[in-house]
């Protein structure tokens, strides 16, 4: 039955007659009753429909809200996943180090890992470097800052791109590039991108201070990371440097944005200029106390202080089976350190003469001991010690012994012993009151003279002064002939013991023969600081008793004694090299001379505590899959300021940044150790003396590192919905496809690598997490 037939049955049940037409309810009552039912039915239906519609609408809204919320949560979890992915990448790029095994260096956006003798391998620290499916992370995360308010190029260049690749995540948890994930054919749930910055390549606002021109003690040495100069922030000179420093003293900054509280004049725009250059947390040491300072192979660096070095373990290597002692580290029988550079041997093969490495260590001790301390460094042997360090005493510059005989018949003979003392340590003087020179083993000339002679000395011997002392014994009757028939001199000068323990003893030398009535002999020491056994140490003096113009050599700038704890590993340049007259460790370009360069030693030693605030000289930005357009020069300038580089400051900073070497050692694309910075062109500042040229490395030697323990991860995550009909696994947004991005979360995390205890397998922890909104 259709609707019309039903209606007919209901309304037009029979034909209308006249009575029907006359009745007031001619067209009713039946239709009216049916109408009520209809209205009621329709009303109920309408009500139910309305309820249904409202309910459905409500459910749709709630459903959409739930889905949106879910997508946001999904995006947030993806962002966490991006951070985890970055941590995994960092973990691969910073393996546990060990001698002969792995070592690594880090830089913004990457790391180099070196395994044994193999060439260093680049580990990019950002997502998907190889594909063209890129996103400019800098445009969404303002990593390098905002507008270029300071006018300093190229920092904060708004055109800066950090192009990294998208990694896609599908429903089954597969993660990879577009190509990889599309192969699984599963619906996509999102995509992620990230870039890893290196915190140690920035200025730590909690440790840096206002230090323009204030760096350096009497020796031009700067001790700690507090000499990284805040005034080099932008615009330079940075007006709020003092305020930042004061703020850090009151309450150390937790996040870099907090430097804005240092002063009302440090506006958000100025902060933006500098946000790429500063950090609040940077370490290159080990957890937990950051006093561990590690060398290229993860071994604790040897503290240079005498208390640590002055042990049998360090000087002789006795009992050192673990490689922790200075001697063993320098000896490095397997040449591990040299392998990092170029396979040019070890220090053991470089320094063999004059007591070799043991004397070198003794010299480091002697450099630091107090002038009032007279006890020599011990090497565990019974006194006298075999390896004597330098002492802050006058040295014999020349010694002359002369016998003069008058003619018979009343012949007499005179003996004159002349000694010229030289005090070479700049900035000091020596009070010689009460001292005396004792010369022994002199010829007695048939018993006419004593074999020993004492020469009193007195007065203050100033720095750089040559002070003569003399004793004359004359008028002794003499009856014999001064010359034996055989021609062998009767008078033979044998040896002399000098003032202090660090002085060399004289070798047995023949007095030159002389004719007539006079016998004279004279010896001038080439370098009084060297050990006695060096062949050719003493050089014959032939002209006069006055100090020769040739001795000492013109550059005496490195004849310096600290007489206290070293303040920088750069002071190793002041250490005398055993076996080389007037030779010192050289911290300059080309310092190797075909062997392992001296500056490699900088990585073996330390002074004081390592840790926060050191600047990673591997600071070249690895931006991702594009050429670098951003440079991080400000921290390097802050590092170098106050060395007196003048106009060269920017040049040297640029040379370090781009690794413009004088000579290339090891990996040409990264600094393998801190010493390699000595190879940088123009770092030696053109001074006329060696010490002057090494002023920069003495200043920065303690302030730099080549690897960071802290990293900032910038992550971008988008959740994706692929409706039915999409090509699962392949992101295809409108207009060509239907896939939609349903949520986006940006996050910033600071991750720290640590070893607890030191030397154990590295672990990683999140120190800071922030979701970003802008």
């Amino acid at each position: 039955m259709n609707k019309r037939s039903t209606f007919n049955t209901f309304v037009r049940r029979r034909p209308l007659d006249r009575a029907d037409l006359l009745h007031p309810s001619a067209l009713s009552p039946h239709p009216s009753e049916g109408g009520v039912a209809l209205i009621l039915t329709l009303a109920i239906l309408a009500l139910v429909t309305l309820l249904l519609i409202a309910f459905v609408a409500s459910m749709r809204v709630e459903n959409a809200a739930s889905k949106n919320f879910n997508e946001l949560i999904k995006a947030r979890e993806l962002a966490k996943g991006a951070i985890d992915q970055a941590v995994a990448q960092i973990r691969q790029a910073t393996p546990q180090r060990a001698p002969g095994g792995n070592t690594y260096v880090t830089f913004p956006g990457g790391a180099y890992v070196k395994n044994g003798a193999l060439a260093a391998t680049l580990y990019p620290l950002y997502s998907d470097p190889s594909l063209a499916d890129l996103t400019n992370l800098n445009s969404g995360l303002w990593i390098t800052g905002g507008t270029n308010n300071s006018g300093e190029f190229p920092v904060n260049n708004p055109n800066t791109a950090i192009n990294v690749g998208w990694l896609y995540v599908d429903q089954s948890g597969n993660i990879g590039s577009k190509t990889v994930v599309s192969g699984f054919g599963k619906p996509l749930v999102g995509r992620i991108a990230y870039w890893v910055d290196d915190e140690a390549s920035k200025i730590n606002v909690n440790t840096a201070t206002v230090a323009p021109g204030s760096c350096g003690d009497a020796l031009g040495v700067c001790s700690g990371s507090n000499y990284v100069d805040l005034t080099m922030l932008l615009p330079t000179p940075f007006a709020n440097a003092g305020n930042i420093q004061a703020g850090a003293v009151t309450h150390p900054y937790t996040t870099i944005e907090e430097i804005k509280r240092a002063s009302a004049s440090l506006t958000a725009d100025i902060f933006d200029d500098n946000r790429f250059e500063v950090t609040t947390y940077s370490t290159d040491g080990n957890y937990p106390n950051y006093t561990d300072d590690l060398d290229v192979f993860d071994r604790q660096r040897i503290p240079l202080n005498p208390a640590t070095l002055n042990t049998p373990l360090n000087i002789t290597g006795q009992g050192d089976l673990t490689g922790v002692g200075a001697y063993t580290r320098l000896f490095d029988a397997s040449g591990n350190l040299a392998k990092v550079f170029s396979g040019t041997g070890s220090f053991a093969s470089k320094y063999t003469a004059g007591g070799g490495l043991k004397q070198l260590i003794a010299n480091i001790i002697g450099y630091q001991i107090d002038p009032t301390v007279t006890a020599p460094p011990t090497d565990g042997a019974v006194p006298p010690a075999a390896y004597l360090g330098l002492a802050r005493t006058p040295y014999i510059n020349q010694i002359q012994i002369e016998y003069d005989a008058t003619a018979p018949p009343n012949a007499t003979v005179s003996r004159t012993v002349s000694v010229v003392l030289f005090f070479m340590y700049s900035g000091n003087s020596y009070n010689s009151a009460g001292e005396q020179l004792v010369i022994t083993g002199l010829p007695t000339v048939g018993g006419l003279f004593s074999a020993n002679v004492n020469i009193p000395v007195s007065g203050t011997i100033a720095s750089g002064a040559y002070v003569p002392f003399k004793r004359i014994d004359q008028g002794v009757p003499f009856t014999g002939s001064p010359v034996a028939a055989s021609g062998t001199p009767l008078i033979q000068y044998t040896r002399g013991y000098l003032l202090d323990y660090a002085q060399p003893t004289l070798p047995q030398n023949q007095i030159p023969s002389a004719g007539g009535s006079a016998y004279q002999g004279c010896q001038v020491v080439g370098d009084p600081a060297v050990h006695e056994s060096v062949a050719g140490e003493w050089k014959q003096y032939t002209s006069s008793t006055a100090p020769s113009s040739g001795y000492p050599p013109a550059d005496t700038s490195k004849i310096v004694m600290r007489a206290g704890p070293m303040q920088s590993v750069g002071e190793l340049g002041f250490i005398h090299t055993p076996g080389v007259a007037y030779g010192h460790l050289t911290l300059q370009p080309g310092g190797g001379g075909g062997q392992i360069p001296d500056w490699a030693m900088l990585d073996l030693f330390t002074v004081g505590a390592g840790g926060a605030g050191r600047i990673n000289i591997n600071s070249l930005i690895n931006p991702g899959a594009a050429e670098p357009v951003t440079q991080r020069l400000v921290p390097l300038k802050a590092l170098l300021n106050s060395v007196g580089l003048g106009a060269n400051l920017a040049t040297v900073a640029q040379n370090i940044y781009t690794r413009s070497y004088g000579d290339t050692y090891g990996n040409p694309n990264a600094f393998d150790t801190i010493g390699e910075v000595c190879q940088i062109a123009s770092l030696a500042n053109g001074a006329s003396t060696q010490a002057g040229a090494e002023a920069t490395i003495r200043r920065i030697g303690n302030l730099i590192t080549v690897r960071s323990n802290t990293f900032t991860i910038w992550a971008l995550a988008q959740s994706i919905r692929q409706p039915l009909g999409s090509t699962f696994g392949t992101f295809n947004p409108p207009p060509a496809g239907q896939d939609v991005i349903t949520g986006e979360v940006k996050a910033q995390a600071v991750v720290e690598r640590y070893e607890n205890p030191p030397g154990s397998a590295p672990e990683y922890r999140l120190r800071y997490l922030r979701y970003l909104y802008k």
Binding site: A19, S58, F69, E258, D272, A749, R765, Y768, Y771, Y773
Partner: protein, 248 residues
């Protein structure tokens, strides 16, 4: 519905074309109508209850989701240093986190606190239930330094605000603080090392819909009427937040 023609006639002998109703018919029809209306009312009542139940449920979940999401998101960004404390007890959590999105401010880190406030203000007969978010935004250098001041409970100020989406709906808030040792997490109701962060924080909360909350506000003695009023609608929610800084 159709009706048979009546057998009664008019006084003119003509059959009535529209007859009246007997009392039985009326009663019958009224009874039927009553039953129908009763059925309809019952149906509508059920629909209404189901509707409200659904609405309440959605609202409860929405409020819980909003509250827990906000709290967990902010707590997950918490920081503790030798200078910055994390305070936690069974019913309060105070911390510092970089949750400020206004780059013009003096810092991105803010002081945040969460607590549940059940109170009957003076002069009022109504209870208030509020999940309070304590918030110091470093809009000035002075405010920026407040985050380094050890936090004191109960010092709520003008910057404190109820969590908007969860206003009045949250009836309880509790925290547990977890430490990890040997891979096992142990929870306690207070956090005793303020310069370190817990490994994890469990947030427990009881949430009702706003209608129930409104009724609760009006009762004189919340304690005695709690169960009866909330029995059907109160739901408990819990989430665990793992914090970023792990102290080994």
């Amino acid at each position: 519905m159709t009706r048979k023609p009546s057998a009664r006639s008019t006084t003119h002998g003509e059959p009535l074309s529209r007859a009246g109703y007997t009392i039985v018919e009326l009663l019958t029809s009224m009874a039927i109508l009553g039953v129908m209306l009763a059925v309809l009312f019952s149906v509508f009542d059920q629909i209404n209850k189901a509707w409200l139940q659904g609405e309440n449920r959605v609202e409860t979940f929405t409020a819980a989701r909003a509250a827990l999401d906000l709290m967990s998101r902010e707590i997950s960004q918490a920081i503790a240093t030798p200078n910055i404390q994390f305070y936690g007890d069974a019913t309060h959590a105070y911390f510092v986190a970089p949750v400020n999105s206004n780059s013009k401010n003096f810092s991105d880190v803010c002081e945040v606190g969460y607590e549940f406030d059940r109170d009957m203000p003076n002069g009022s007969q109504n209870w208030t239930f509020q999940l309070i978010r304590h918030f110091i935004e470093p809009s000035s250098a002075a405010n920026a330094l407040l985050i380094y001041t050890p936090m004191s409970l109960g010092s709520f100020g003008a910057s404190d605000e109820p969590v908007a989406l969860a206003t009045n709906c949250v009836l309880n808030l509790g925290f547990q603080y977890g430490t990890i040792s040997g891979g096992a997490i142990t929870y306690s109701s207070t956090w005793g090392t303020p310069n370190k962060l817990p490994y994890a924080i469990v947030i427990n909360t009881d949430v009702v819909d706003s209608r129930t909350a409104t009724k609760l506000r009006l009762v004189q003695n919340v304690g005695n009427n709690w169960v009866s009023l909330t029995n059907s609608t109160l739901r408990s929610f819990s989430t665990t937040v793992y914090l970023p800084i792990i102290q080994p």
